[in-house]
């Protein structure tokens, strides 16, 4: 078997480990069924293997480490959707996929099928170190300094069944990027890591700590500016050790690391971490160049060859086909190789459910990845799909192929590219349904020419204060609330997860679903009417302040 492009290739040792994990889980299910394990004991154990109990059924969340899949793995996900679910899967904001209609008794069989393609559900939930996320353009983007995936894989391995950090106060999320343009929301993670080249050729890491969304949104603070590669794991161990010992365990809403960092201050946290490091045997925790090289050698690198006229061919096709041109404008990103381009495939069709894909679409995506991008697929934290290395002169063929299965929506980064949590349609925690309002908004702004005219504008929708739809980080954020049994939505504006991370501020009183859609349409009209040349929604909002937008939103209320 050839080594896949973009992700780590398992060997026999890794596969034996995965089989042992499945056997362990099977034993746990058996002990639950025979009563040796109570439900309270079983729940955390099943969660740390990705199995939730939702409103109507079990949900299995499958890990996609750093968001990268090969076509063989993607096909397997499509087969699982067809055989064990209702013929679709849902890609999540943490670059994973979840299956919403799973039977408990099928889970061991599903895990075995996943293991056939080196996949699993390890640590996709539970109070442990979760699946590590990374830049969706890793190893492809022209603006990248360091490909973060080798270190993302190192973190995946290091955090897998960590003996000390599997029963943390609360879940723990790590994201890593190697670009100056933050595409991982580094400052909204428990730990955010930005890699850049160091003087000796090995990367150095800037580490943020204590960011997060949820009930208490906090922007992460810089803990260290330049951690050397050899000390990366020691530093993470020290950060986690302080958190495990001192994080609150009396109230789950106060248990994330962000609360501890806020309580003692980032300086005190840094001192505590340094005190740990001073006592640790750093040699024992050292990440050696040999270990990094060994893991790097299990990643294949794409052989990027394109005809000299690839760029000219693409330019010509764009001139001839305005629809294609519009898609290229919104759905592509500059590749480090001039003959290639990065294509983002929108899973946000107008009126559709954000992040959902049918088994037929999944199978087609796998075929297209084989044909156009070295069999490599990336899932983004905005619930879309990326083909990272497409030859420019073949981009139009890819676009035509996508059109055949309804995946050629030209709306990446635009108002139709909505992020929404599963909401009350699935989730036991939700106060409101996120999906119907996302569908209504998608339908309201279905015209892609209008979306292009509006420009960069992110809408994020959460069905409750746990904020899984990241509404705090949306340029426009919607939070579902329950008012005497009716679903209302609270509007926030001005959030952003990219560079210059900010938490949105509440615009005014919550509105019912249809009135919310109308209010957003008026917000957008207000922006279109008052923007100056070249301004995005956020630019105009920053210049004018909230007041004109508040007035517009609540005009008729």
């Amino acid at each position: 078997m050839s080594i896949p492009v973009g992700h780590y290739q398992y060997d026999r040792i890794d596969r034996d480990f995965l089989q042992a994990r499945i056997a362990e889980f099977e034993g746990q299910v058996q002990r639950r069924l025979d009563g040796t394990l109570s439900e309270d004991e079983f729940k955390p154990l099943r969660l740390m293997n990705g199995l939730y109990l939702q409103l109507h059924a079990y949900m299995l969340r499958v890990a996609i480490p750093y968001g990268i899949l090969d076509s063989r793995q993607l096909r397997k996900l499509g087969e699982i959707a067809r055989r064990y679910d209702r013929d679709y899967g849902h890609f999540t904001t943490r670059q994973n996929i979840q299956f919403n209609w799973i039977r408990l008794e099928d889970t061991p069989a599903i895990l075995r099928e996943l293991a056939e393609v080196d996949m699993h559900a390890i640590q996709t939930s539970g109070n442990c170190i979760r699946n590590v996320t990374a830049d969706e353009y890793a190893g492809a983007a022209a603006d990248e300094l360091v490909d973060p995936r080798v270190h993302a894989e190192i973190l995946r391995q290091w955090s897998t069944l960590h003996p000390e950090f599997t029963f943390l106060p609360r879940k723990f999320k790590i994201a890593i990027s190697g670009s100056p343009n933050d595409r991982v929301a580094a400052r909204f993670h428990d730990i955010g890591i930005l890699a850049r080249p160091g003087e000796d050729g090995a990367p150095v890491f800037r580490i943020f700590v204590g960011g997060g969304l949820g009930r208490t949104p906090v922007i992460g603070e810089e803990l260290f500016d330049s951690v050397r590669e050899e000390h990366l794991l020691a530093t993470l161990e020290a950060i986690l050790r302080v958190y495990n010992a001192h994080g609150r365990r009396d109230n789950i809403y106060k248990a994330r690391i962000k609360i501890l960092v806020q309580a003692i201050g980032v300086e005190a946290y840094r001192e505590a971490v340094e005190a740990e490091l001073a006592q640790m045997d750093l040699e024992r925790y050292r990440l050696t160049p040999e270990a990094v090289a060994a893991i790097r050698s299990r990643f294949a690198v794409p052989l990027l060859e394109a005809p000299a006229d690839a760029d000219a061919v693409l330019a010509q096709q764009r001139r001839e086909d305005p629809l294609f041109d519009r898609w290229v404008r919104s759905n592509t990103h500059v590749h480090r190789d001039p003959g290639h381009i990065i294509a983002t495939i929108s899973l946000k069709p107008a009126g559709g459910i954000p992040g959902d894909a049918t088994s037929a679409q999944i199978a087609r995506l796998a075929d297209l990845a084989d044909a156009y991008s070295f069999g490599e697929i990336r899932i983004t934290h905005l619930q879309n799909v990326v083909l990272g290395h497409v030859r420019k002169d073949r981009l139009r063929d890819l676009w035509l192929g996508l059109s055949e299965v309804g995946l050629a929506e030209a709306n990446i980064g635009l108002i139709g590219d909505i992020v929404a949590c599963p909401g009350l349609d699935y989730c036991a925690l939700a106060n409101a349904r996120s999906i119907p309002i996302a569908q209504k908004l998608g339908a309201r702004f279905a015209d892609t020419a209008l979306q292009a005219e509006i420009g960069a504008l992110r809408i994020n929708i959460s069905g409750c204060i746990n904020a899984c739809g990241h509404h705090h980080a949306g340029h426009i954020g919607l939070l579902g609330v329950d008012k005497r049994g009716e679903e209302f939505f609270q509007l926030t504006v001005g959030g952003r997860a990219e560079n210059g991370a900010a938490i949105g501020t509440i615009l005014g009183a919550a509105l019912p679903e249809d009135e919310t859609v109308d209010a957003i349409a008026r917000l957008v009209d207000c922006y279109l009417g008052r923007r100056e040349s070249g301004e995005t929604f956020l630019d105009t909002l920053t210049r004018l302040g909230h007041e004109p937008f508040r007035e517009a939103a609540y005009e008729t209320v």
Binding site: D16, L161, P163, E164, N244, R249, A294, S297
Partner: protein, 148 residues
């Protein structure tokens, strides 16, 4: 009380088990009980006379005991016995062992079956990170197994 040994160190029974607060008053105490909120560094003045540190888990989800054990082994170089008691699960056997715990007080319910603890200790052939145990690399990368 049924004890289960996770490693090579043989579990010892002590008649006198005191709390951290009582330790200064009891010169005869050779065994101390740490609650999960106790700071192991406070044991420093007493380490030479302690044979046993018992870590009490109020509930299996409270993972502070794992860090306490590592601090005892890695920072304080404690070479006596470390024991876990309270609400613990056999599913945690290897984690406890890898953090430096030698023995457990077996739970009185179905989780106290020694066969389950034995099985869990042998569940995984390798680990992906270093622990307090003597270990050697397995293949390239981060993977280790216990050195014989």
């Amino acid at each position: 009380m049924k004890l289960f040994e996770l490693g090579e160190r043989t579990a010892q029974v002590h008649d006198v088990l005191v709390t951290l607060a009582e330790l200064a008053e009891r010169d005869d105490a050779r065994a101390v009980l740490l609650e999960s909120a106790d700071d192991p560094a406070l044991l420093k003045p007493y380490l030479n006379r302690l044979d046993l540190v018992v870590l009490r888990f109020p509930i299996f989800r409270d993972g502070r005991g794992f860090t306490q054990a590592r601090e005892l082994r890695e920072y304080l170089r404690f070479s006596g016995e470390i024991r876990a008691e309270g609400h613990i699960l056999p599913d945690q056997a290897a984690f406890l062992r890898r953090c430096g715990v030698d023995s457990v007080v077996l739970p009185k319910d179905g989780n106290g079956d020694p066969a389950l603890w034995e099985k869990q200790l042998r569940q995984f052939p390798v680990a992906y990170q270093r622990s307090v145990l003597p270990e050697r690399s397995v293949g390239p990368g981060l993977r280790v197994e216990e050195a014989p």
